[in-house]
Symmetry: D4
Subunit: 251 residues, 8 copies
């Protein structure tokens, strides 16, 4: 539509129905969206192959089904995060080819497989309670075409368990580290590797953990170099950031 | 020394003076540091070409001169951040080949030029007061072998200034965005590009900006995908993270 | 009653039953409320045509019905905010001519149509989750005689959607912007227009959004000029403020 | 320049040197700023008559002189806020026709008098320590063409002083209320009038006033209707908001 | 028992069985509680006529019944605060002569009427939602022998309602003011009277009221003289403090 | 003046120049201050004998001298709090009969001795660093006619020092307790006495004392009955509150 | 496996199949975990006799049963903290020899009695609501071989109850003090004894107790010497710390 | 004196001048301090050999000299913490046998050498900026008779440096760990050892380190067992706690 209006204007100029000066003047008054199409088109191209993302929390199963259905019609891959069992059940009933990642509380629908990137992202978590966040990060990576190595339950209080996984760590291209409580794990990991570490504070803990704020602050103050921090429990954000880094490495 | 002890043990095994079982047993009791050299060696290799970093804040000019001198003797490139004019003056007197980046409050000594990576990092800041942080990020990138495009004074309140720089943005591989006050710029930028955006909250502002906390929180809560957050005013951290991403893209 | 006492005193003075000095003295001792009627009367006149407002949250359906009934008897227009479905059901049963604005969680009873003001208020929200707050603002405007244009789901991460609505924005007299998470939208909007922007932080978000505090702080620190901030989720306050501005424009 | 490129393109289309399809294609690739001029032009027109604003805090006298000189060359009215005595002295030496508002810590340069709006804005403050903020608001209003009535030292602890000024209050179109400590004054004022009240928390107080945070929170939680809040000590923001409301009333 | 041991010791001294020096030495080693009875006795005397207080929140109905039963057996008056309907029901079943103050969420059992003090305490609240706290304060005063005048729903946004009650205020000896949201009412009241005002912040409000913290801070920063602050929602504490002040006035 | 206008109106009514109805109508329109004199007069009477108070902090010596001079001319007793040595020097030069209380950082000018109340207020502090606040409270009491017993350096870590002063405590009518750090002293004291305890948190401490916030919070959460809290370091407020309680006991 | 690889290497050296130099070189490249067994073995030895600990909160009964079963198979003593009644029921059904400590919300399984330490730890709490935390600390001590003396309900508001227990306090080797609200008890206790006091803030309180933060801050700011603080409600941590101190006293 | 009164009473009983009943009665009325001597005596005995401690911060050099002089006269060992160079200079001039620990900002005067305890305390710090706090802890230990091993600059970002010191760590009886920024070191250390770890958050860092609050929170939330936390920068508290633990191990 916008394209049409602009095309019509240029046709009129070409046909001599409208002088260039008049065209200038009409362009001035033309609503912004009429020239915006360039960006939109461009934008879409750039993001091609990436899924549409639905934040399930606070939505009814019906709403999520409806959104997924619409996105499928547009041919998009879909990632639903923070999916409750109720949401999962309804979506699976309507779309039996959707995959439910229970631990990650995520649903994925892959219509066209994403472009693959060489190498892998390591996803660590400090304790078993951090697993849902770590798994959300892992599933996000995977639907964005990035291979994942999961390394779970390697908290700093038993640091030999982390060290036992050093080879996995050293061969990764990016590592995502999920930790609650004192949030120390990303600092230790970033001291061992020489590539970006994405730190995800989790809301695991009690008392003065303040729902993940302590871990968040600790990560922001890491004495190690190369630590990128995202919001508390934001496994999706960490996964997407890792995928963008992997892609930056392949542009 | 540790190496010596280990070598001696192996020699004894080879010479039949010590059975393998006995060697196993002695290794169990051998202090940790004796086998640690492996990691240290490795570690150093990985980080080769990266500068040693000195946090100038709170150090006397004499202390900084002394540290720089020692590092130079080890053949390291050196980056001094948060350098006061007094520190700069003393260091330059002792090491006339050091470069003083006044706006960035940084000193650099490059003995061996760093490995170069293709592409560039865009460094943005919202207002002129954010410039010292942005420049610290830029200087950090540069001493780590990464080219930088500076795009300054493009706050969200006059968003056309940002849009006028879209081509610079779109061709970058990573963008560092420094902003104080409401910290909205990284969200807007991350909505326009499809690669990682590193958000640096600055302590610019007054009243309820709480020395950068508001900007920090805003960045952590970005509704856009691909935003990595570092500590308030941590230009160095952002630059180093960007360089690690650039390197990850070239491993 | 108070008026009566004062009138009686003046009559006595007129009739010579009471000297002016004595009247002075008795006025001194006369309770405050006896002369207060002036203000009350005045006050009522000033606010004429504005609805009585009931904050539904924490009240039982019965309490709300009772209040609405009393206000109706006084001939007031009524706005019930934060109305639960239970409240709505009970009120509608008792007052079938009340309108239930489900998305806005509001009930309105209009006995006498409010004075209309020329022009309109644009009500924006960043995401669909901000809609209840935006709608509360819109309904409040409308019952105060102000026309509203709703522009929803125009967050900063996809800023072209906002720009596509620029004409609606530019022709408004006031814009109310509701946003959670990083709360960046009001800054961007206020940079595009030259009239007051009312920023409403919403509690949408998680982790370090702290139930809307991050958005609130971001809005208070806006680098743009002309941003008025209200409490978190306070759609009513924003709508009423917009209506007062519209009225100030017509006094 | 941008205009030139666009004009050239349209001329080419008109001259048949370029087909409309080709023009469409080139427009897609044309940098954003080339079509942005519309907004910029527009933007400038809308804001005509408003001063350029310089935040003096943290700038050297030389920097401020330089900025003011450049703005004067562009024919702009200028408002310098948070001006130290040193800044004032230097600016006045370079620009003797600049006015120094000592209490407001502001400098103004009026090359062309602003458009005047009918009515006035009342500027209140709770204590004498709030005066610098109140005066900054007042000076801002005045350079934006808005008349001001100053009503100082009318805190809630001696509420009769406020009531003694009721006539001034009731005849205003907007009132700006500056208060520190418990920040109660805006609520009381907003309960007395029926137009917008702009609340400015000040950093006046000690202990649990937390540099104005207590007053800020109190104002955001006002039980009165029609209260717009700005950042702590943001007299300029309040003044500009008031002027925008006055102008909205005159569009 | 303790008394017995001490008496025995003194008897032995009197009987010459134990020298004073030996008694001194044994007193040194005698456990603290043996001489503590003095204080305990004294203590009890001082507090005579005051009720035993049970904080009902978090206790089961059975626990409260058990405590009340035990206290009754000791002859104490009893005040149960934060009583749920379930607690009230069980206690009333076991002790039919207990009075349930529903609005105050309190239960009282008066075995011996408290000593009465001349004068009264005014208990104010800003809004109807503050009533439970205000009523808890009032009931506490009454069971401590202090007469109460309740003045409800006199918030600062409609300050004439407060002024209409000035005579009640001026004749009180102490006033308790309960307010949530911006917590401004105690400042206004303390500016009108010349005796102690006890400010009780309530958790009434939403968003940036932070469960009463805003009101609490506002009250602590009151610009008026003579304001005593207690914890959020601590109606009991306010009532008991008022009663102690009344008693201090009668010692 | 106001009185004059009102008197004139009544005279006119008495003289038949103005009907009672007309007088009623004119009273309605008469500015508020014209009837307000009642309160002002009353107000002054109530507060008679109390000093005018000047908060010295942030004022220049000249400003304080000027204020003290004016107050002296009005015949008021004067209390200057938070007086710097510079302020003290200037005021003493201008008013040699002023008393400088160095430890309390206070200046007092007593023109007419205040009404004396029977009994005394005990003023305690936990450590020697709390003394300035405690002394400010004591000086405030004294200029308001209340006798004071100072009991300093009786912190909870050496609780026997407190107990050694029990007789002083038990005979007081009110106790003011100043404490920083963990702020535990008021709870202990309030558990020992049966009258009001005024708790003053001080900013003494470091690290997690947060400038007195920890002590403030501890005092607000006291498990003892009868604790009234004032702002951090607010010795004046505590002293004035104590004096008002003493006066309430004598009305 | 790791041991095998290392053993194989040493065998090869012994057999002359591999030179010591080659062995050094291969050790360098050998993954970290291959030499890590030393530490693990060691580690286990050090902690011998201590139970495995399961944090029950957030786990399903089935998960806890499964973990306990596995630990039992390994011959470990087990402590389950934060056990709900549902967890307790399921675990007891599966493991009838497990002990359920209801007040402590803990389950213990003792397969081999822990090493006993001479002396005892006193566990105090300020109010009955602090009991679950205190009991968790006590049960933790006991399963770690430390005898406990429980001293409950000795808050600072009735300090004579604490003093009545002085002999128990003075004979202890360590005291754990659990307190919510103002958290003053550890300071008082640490002033009375000359050994370590472990302070456990509890979430008991309301309003400005902020879920235990006030107590936590108070304890961190204790003016007494020898106070060790743990997280809010962390009875387990306090008990384990006490046991480690007891053991340190016996190494 | 108190002793005298009590002795006199007992003498009178022995002499028959006072019946036991009468003595009981007089003891009831006898002020508390008269029986308190027991505790004081006892108290002193317990703490014998421990130094008197002076917190230098905020005191003038003259005040500190005066206190040290008095304590010396009482024969006490003295520890002055937070000593400025000015304080040190003055004290050394007056007391040339005092030792100035420059890095620790401490002064010590040892008149009688403290009782020695077997074993040692390891004192660690994460970075060189944490050294003043670590040294304060070390000096405190030493003046309390505890030997110290200093292990500095072993932050988690280069964890091999920590591991190189494992033997020192494992042989200690207690370890004090000082760390700023993310405060992760105590967790790592406590995972490696099986005795108490005392965590001291330092104010080292910037931005979201909030003057040590982040480190403090991280330490309170440690996932490792056996971590005792003290206030920010409280090296003295940590040292004294360590010494008390050492002594508990030797009672």
């Amino acid at each position: 539509m916008n394209v049409d209006r602009l095309k019509k204007l240029l046709d009129d100029v070409a046909a001599g129905k409208c002088s260039p000066e008049e065209a200038m003047s009409r362009l001035r008054g033309m609503p912004f969206e009429d020239v915006e199409f360039v960006k939109i088109d461009h934008h879409r191209a750039l993001r091609k192959g990436f899924p549409e993302v639905v934040f399930g929390s606070g939505k009814t199963p019906e709403q999520v089904v409806q959104i997924v259905t619409r996105m499928r019609e547009e041919g998009s891959n879909v990632l639903v995060t923070r999916s409750t069992p109720e949401i999962a059940e309804e979506v699976l009933r309507a779309h039996p080819d959707v995959t439910y990642h229970k631990a990650a509380r995520a649903l994925t629908l892959v219509l066209s497989p994403p472009q693959k990137f060489p190498g892998y992202v390591a996803v660590l978590c400090a304790g078993t309670s951090d697993m849902p966040v770590a798994d959300e990060a892992a599933v996000t990576c995977e639907i964005m075409g990035v291979e994942v190595e999961r390394v779970y339950d390697v908290g700093v209080a038993g640091i030999h368990r982390l060290f036992a996984q050093r080879q996995v760590l050293e061969s990764a291209k990016v590592t995502i580290v999920c930790a609650g409580m004192e949030g120390a794990l990303p600092s230790v990991v970033a001291g061992l590797v020489d590539y970006p570490v994405i730190a995800v504070p989790t809301s695991v803990g009690y008392g003065a953990s303040f729902g993940g704020v302590t871990a968040l602050l600790a990560m922001l103050n890491s004495c190690a170099t190369g630590v990128a921090v995202v919001n508390i429990d934001n496994g999706f954000g960490a996964g997407a950031l890792a995928a963008l880094i992997m892609r930056a490495a392949n542009r």
